[in-house]
């Protein structure tokens, strides 16, 4: 495939916490406007890998990385790249819904404001909430606190907030793990809608979710010798779940793992 079809390319990526290597030798291409899911057992470094894509690992003082992640032909970790700009282009939704303790309106407007948005704020808020399939539920209470919403609504508010700054890629770190099945389904539907405009990378513990909601799947496992995560297999989701190439993958997705 052509280079242009990749939103992100990880090359020879190793991530360390202090002297401990959390993720090793990752070679991975994220396809544009597709949903890529990372699956794997706990502690295998899925979230660490995900956070590397928008330099959120920089916030953890002891972490450092080797290798490169290329975005539009540029290594995100080059010294002339500002992580603030990286995070503006590559947004993130977290495991636990974390709206700001502000009004619903301000939750969305704040990100736009700090990034220098100069258009019509009301329109942006409405558009973002509509894209996150939340508008109809909150349009009458925009001035209420974001914390007054239910868990699923809060997570969609966080997605709306991320969309509002117009990123190109959205990283989702187990976005449904704190939600009930109905809310989970709503988020999955939403991801499918968002896919038209955004490239989405999602970490999940839920294999059905990966099978249902993603186009590509990467399976990561933990090396039993040095406890570092490595990528076992990366393929189209259908392929992965119907005819896995690797015995480890098959064991994991059929539940015989460990």
């Amino acid at each position: 495939m052509m280079q242009g079809n990749y939103a992100l390319q990880a090359k020879d990526l190793n991530i360390y916490y202090g002297s401990f290597r959390a993720v090793k030798d990752i070679e991975l291409n994220i396809h544009t406007n597709k949903i890529t899911s990372f699956i794997g057992p706990s502690g295998c470094g899925k979230s660490t890998l995900l956070r590397a894509f928008n330099r959120m690992n920089d916030l953890i003082e002891i972490s450092h990385m080797k290798g490169s992640i290329e975005y539009k032909g540029k290594n995100l970790y080059d010294s002339d790249v500002d992580p603030v700009e990286v995070r503006r282009r590559i947004g993130m939704v977290f495991q636990k819904p974390n709206p700001f303790p502000k009004s619903i309106y301000d939750n969305i407007a704040w990100g736009a404001k700090i990034n220098g948005f100069r258009g019509n704020m009301d329109e942006l808020v409405e558009e973002s909430l509509r894209s996150a399939a939340l508008w109809d539920e909150v349009k009458d209470k925009l001035d209420q606190s974001g914390l007054s919403l239910s868990g699923g609504q809060q997570q969609r508010l966080c997605i709306a907030r991320t969309i509002a700054v117009k990123p190109e890629i959205i990283l989702m770190d187990e976005p449904c793990s704190a939600l009930d099945p109905i809310a989970t389904l709503k988020i999955e539907e939403l991801m499918r809608q968002l896919q038209e405009e955004y490239t989405i990378v999602i970490v999940t513990h839920n294999m059905q979710q990966a099978a249902r909601a993603s186009d590509y799947t990467a399976f990561l496992n933990m090396d039993s010798s040095d406890r570092a995560g490595y990528m076992v297999e990366f393929n189209e989701t259908n392929e992965m779940f119907t005819s896995p190439q690797n015995q480890e993958t098959e064991d994991y997705i059929t539940g015989r793992f460990g």
């Binding site: 959120m56 002891i62 503006r88 977290f94 636990k96 700001f100 907030r161 991320t162």
Partner: protein, 565 residues
């Protein structure tokens, strides 16, 4: 099944559970005892203070009001002192107080619109034509009630001769009355609360009945204001740096952190020594205000000279910046009432607010700058107490001028900064570690997910701190700050070292004023020999406690207000 046999069953199980419950109950009761002990201590503290702040007092008048009434020609049996006319009261004042005092009272507020009682017309006109005219030139004349109060204060001069605790007053009040009045038929016994509105609004005085805590309250508020203005921004700033920016791995940062924690436990007297060395001595020119308003010293000297003239009839002449001093006028002989001497000393204290310490004016000696001026109290024909020199050869006009020159020179000397700003900064240093530690706690309590959410949207670190971390940490920071402020208000030892004055008769009016604070005032009063000072000390303790409680209430309100959002 083998596992189950290892656990007690049946009776053994209920015994074992009962033993566990018993152990829990024993702990629970011992915690209850601890709580009861704490409550008992608090109750006895409050009891002790209240016991002294209220109670019976025996008062005696310098002049019996009945005598005053009979002097006007009225019958004391049918007319009481408060039923007389204004003219009668003015006559009583004329008969019983010195001309100097009367003149001062008249300059404060005149007695009649159309005539002068104590002053002469020429001096009055001069006082009104001055750049700062006397207050009396602008105010309407005193009304009857006002003059009556003056008579009570200056002529009747009620004095407390004996006080009793609240407990005794309540339990055996009648007994006390009967016993005491049998021995002192002239005295009257009344129930008195030493904590009154007047007590809050009056300045210090060497007479306990007239003393108040106003200057100490103002002093405390000024000092705490300076303390907060210094330690809040510095403390919160340091906390943010340590929590948000500084690397936890860096050995220097870890040493700093450990030292801040240790500084919070350093005895406060050591901070006092530090404040004395740095703020009072090294930075004396700054903390005394010398660098900012030297010129005003001359204004103060001039106002002293004016007040000496108007109050004591003494003229001071300054030639080439030097006080040469001459005593002229009707009061050339050194003849001051106790109140007047006090006023004189107050004037000098005001003037020489930078440096001058008058130890005390009491009835036997004026001590100042190594000059001991022996005086004695004599009661003149009218029953007014006056300070008169014990020995004419010692207390000459020249000697007196020496005293005033010493005082005026002291005002010029700029060699120390025992001022509000030194005290405020010293207390600021003292509570800085507490504020830093509390603010760090509060900043650390802001969930990491907030920072991630903000950074994930493309916010810079500073935007994250300012918009999310600080607002969410604010209730905790405020709580810690106000608790630290409570500590600063109650601190005594470092301020003794830094040089809080024990006697200040004027309100501190800025960071470069001399000052006293509530705890020092209380300490000073409790160490006085007269019993009444302990009564007002108890009243001052109640004021201090109320001040502290209201600050803590503010802390709770602020915390709730921000926590609800």
């Amino acid at each position: 099944m083998a596992d189950q046999l290892n656990y007690p069953e049946g009776e053994a199980l209920s015994d074992q559970i009962a033993r566990r419950h018993t152990r829990g109950k024993i702990w629970r009761s011992s915690f209850l005892v601890a709580l009861i002990i704490a409550i008992l201590v608090l109750v006895s503290l409050v009891y002790n203070v209240v016991n002294q702040a209220f109670g019976l007092v025996a008062v005696e008048n310098a002049i019996d009001p009945a005598v005053l009434v009979s002097q006007t020609g009225a019958d004391p049996a049918t007319v009481s002192l408060d039923e007389l006319t204004k003219d009668d009261y003015v006559e009583m004042l004329q008969a019983n107080i010195s001309t100097g005092l009367g003149r001062r009272l008249e300059r404060d507020q005149r007695f009649y619109e159309d005539r002068l009682v104590f002053d002469n017309q020429a001096a009055w006109d001069a006082a009104c034509a001055a750049a700062e005219p006397a207050a009396g030139c602008l105010l309407p004349a005193r009304d009857t009630d006002n003059v009556y109060q003056l008579v009570i204060e200056r002529v009747v001069e009620q004095r407390v001769i004996e006080t009793w605790f609240l407990r005794d007053s309540l339990l055996r009040g009648d007994e006390i009355r009967a016993e005491f009045l049998a021995e002192n038929p002239n005295a009257e016994i009344e129930f008195r609360s030493w904590l009154t509105a007047d007590f809050l609004t009056r300045p210090q005085s060497s007479r306990p009945e007239l003393a108040g805590v106003r200057t100490a309250i103002f002093g405390s508020l000024w000092v705490v204001l300076v303390t907060l203005l210094f330690s809040f921004p510095v403390g919160v700033g340091a906390a943010i740096y340590l929590e948000e920016y500084a690397s936890k791995q860096n050995i220097v940062n870890r040493i700093i952190q450990t030292n801040i924690n240790n500084l919070a436990g350093v005895p406060s007297i050591i901070y006092g020594m530090l404040g004395l060395a740095i703020f009072v001595r090294v930075l004396g020119a700054v903390s005394s205000g010398y660098l900012f308003d030297y010129a005003s010293i001359e204004n103060r000297q001039n106002s002293l000279i004016n007040s000496m003239e108007s109050n004591f009839g003494i003229t001071i002449i300054i030639e080439d910046g030097d006080v040469t001093s001459a005593i002229e006028g009707p009061n050339a002989a050194f003849d001051l009432s106790v109140t007047e001497a006090q006023l004189l000393v107050d004037e000098f204290t005001t003037l020489s607010w930078r440096n001058f310490d008058i130890d005390e004016v009491d009835a036997s000696v004026i001590v100042a700058r190594g000059l001991r001026i022996p005086v004695s109290v004599e009661t003149d024909d009218n029953g007014t107490e006056r300070l008169v020199p014990k020995d004419d050869s010692v207390m000459t006009a020249a000697n007196f001028s020496l005293l005033s020159r010493e005082m005026a020179n002291a005002a010029k000397a700029i060699d120390n900064g025992r001022t509000v700003i030194s005290a405020g900064l010293t207390l600021g240093l003292l509570i800085l570690p507490i504020i830093i530690i509390n603010a760090q706690e509060a900043v650390r309590a802001v969930p990491l997910s907030m920072r991630q959410a903000s950074m994930g949207l493309g916010a810079t670190q500073w935007q994250t701190i300012w918009n999310h971390v600080l607002p969410q940490a604010l209730p905790g920071i405020l709580t810690g700050t106000i608790l630290a402020m409570s500590r600063a208000i109650g601190e005594t030892a470092p301020l003794v070292v830094v040089g809080a004055s024990t006697f200040i008769a004027f309100d501190p009016n800025g960071p470069f004023s001399k000052f006293t604070v509530m705890p020092i005032q209380i300490y000073q009063w409790t160490s006085r020999p007269q019993a009444e000072f302990r009564n007002i000390a108890a009243a001052a303790i109640i004021v201090l406690l109320i001040l502290l409680l209201s600050l803590n209430a503010t802390a709770v309100l602020l915390r709730n207000r921000y926590a609800n959002k």
